[in-house]
Amino acid sequence: MSHADHGHQHIKLEYQPALPLRNGKLFMWLFLSTEIMFFAALIGVYIVIRFGAPVWPHPSHVHLSEPIGAFNTFVLICSSVSIVLALEAARSDKAAQAKLWVGVTLALGAAFLLVKAYEYNAKFSHGIYPAQPRSQIYEQPDIYYAAAVRGRVRELSAPLLAERAQLEQQLQKPDVADREALQQRFEQIESQLRFYDTEILDIANNPNATEADLAKLADRIMPLPQPGSHSHAAGLNEEYPELKLPVVVPGGNMWASTYFMVTGFHALHVTAGLIAFAVLLLPRNRLGRERAGTIENVGLYWHFVDLVWIFLFPLLYLF
């Protein structure tokens, strides 16, 4: 820029970057600032819903396991360390070592997702879904709950009733083979139907059942453990897992919606990170010094995903 005035006002400009960092890194940081606001919105909404709710389920009411959450936190922290070691290796031009650490990070991220999938599956198997109509959660033991229980029992007993009718016909024939076995099966079905009658329908089918009666029914189906206790050993749903009766978890539906939304978006981010690691691991990529910038960018993104989980873990599992 010096000596620019040779008689006329011509200024030679030299390019100076606005911020002294690579374009890729600048882009990643700008992207991360939008991500900060994205997750701040999600977490903010969660806080509003959580603390604005008149009742909120205890983690044990919704089969949320704190040790599993803590384990997943540990896994993500380890993966943050491994990606930073990959970056250091790449900067020292140790390409094979860098690739190894990226592979370790990919494995740890996949382990996180697997644990998350296991957790989601545990929710689904207990009828906890983000929304109706699959959700089996009812807010209170009211007539709608009773109707849902009746509906489920009807679903369960329909095949039994059909089989019983068939058995009755067969047993009426004088020369039926295997009468003993048929009679036994008949009694089995009878006792199963009696079980539905005495354990569930006595309240669910009773038009005079009060809210207190229905609360007792809900407690019979799935007693909510006291805070601090984690035993889900009691209850019809636990004793006979095939029943899958609707349950009463006050605040449970709102909990499920927020839990699946927040952890789902986080899991999507984890998945995106895993794709980036997989691309880095392609055989044609040498992760030497020339790739250090790329690894740094992906690493920044990955640390951000870890950061979000650092806040999500206590908010979702321990609050």
């Binding site: 002294p20 960092l21 690579r22 890194k25 600048l26 940081w29 600032s33 939008t34 900060i36 606001m37 701040a40 977490i43 903010g44 806080i47 509003v48 819903i49 603390f51 604005g52 709710a53 008149p54 009742v55 704190e66 936190t73 540990f74 922290i77 380890c78 943050s80 360390v81 930073v84 070691l85 250091e88 900067r91 020292s92 031009d93 807010e139 209170q140 809210e211 207190a212 609360a215 007792k216 809900a218 407690d219 007693p223 909510l224 601090g228 006050p250 709102m254 010094r289 250090a292 910038g293 690493g299 640390h303 951000f304 870890d306 806040f311 873990f313 206590p314 599992y317 321990l318 609050f319």
Partner: protein
């Protein structure tokens, strides 16, 4: 780390010492210390879940404690793993506005907590009068006692 590379790629500012302390690569031991600190902090927030945590009766104490621990963990990750401790001052340009807006967003949402609480109670979810009827074991016992007490005089 700037000792052994060519200055050919003019785009690669990170290798020109803008955001690194000059001369040597980061000490790997430093990352291990940060890792250990993060593990200790995670077990600290997990400690609030154990029965040894003395403030189970006051959940607000645990919430504050866990958020403080989480902030420490976030700072450690940002300072060391994301290298913000070693970056030039551009880091403030990119992180502070986003953080301020994120915090403002959450602060702006806080009045909604009270609004939600006041409109939803008595609304579609549950009313305070109904809370005793919700199926927690303690409530069910209470109700059973009540119904026994109500039946008792009628039996004589």
């Amino acid at each position: 780390m700037t000792t052994h590379h060519g200055h050919g790629q003019h785009e690669d500012y990170s290798t020109h010492g803008y955001d690194e302390h000059h001369g040597k690569p980061h000490d790997v031991r430093k990352y291990l210390y940060v890792f250990l600190a993060l593990c200790v902090l995670t077990s600290m927030s997990f400690f609030t879940y154990s029965s040894y945590w003395p403030f189970h009766a006051y959940p607000q104490v645990g919430w504050t404690f866990m958020m403080a621990v989480s902030l420490c963990k976030a700072l450690l990750v940002m300072l060391f793993f994301m290298h913000l401790k070693y970056e030039a001052s551009w880091k403030f340009v990119l992180t502070i506005p986003a953080s301020v807006m994120a915090i403002f967003l959450i602060v702006a949402l806080i009045p909604d907590i009270k609004w939600r609480y006041e409109t939803i109670v008595g609304g579609r979810t549950v009313s305070p009068q109904q809370v005793p009827f919700l199926a927690t074991p303690a409530d069910v016992e209470l109700l059973e006692e009540e119904s026994r007490a109500a039946l008792a005089p009628g039996q004589h």
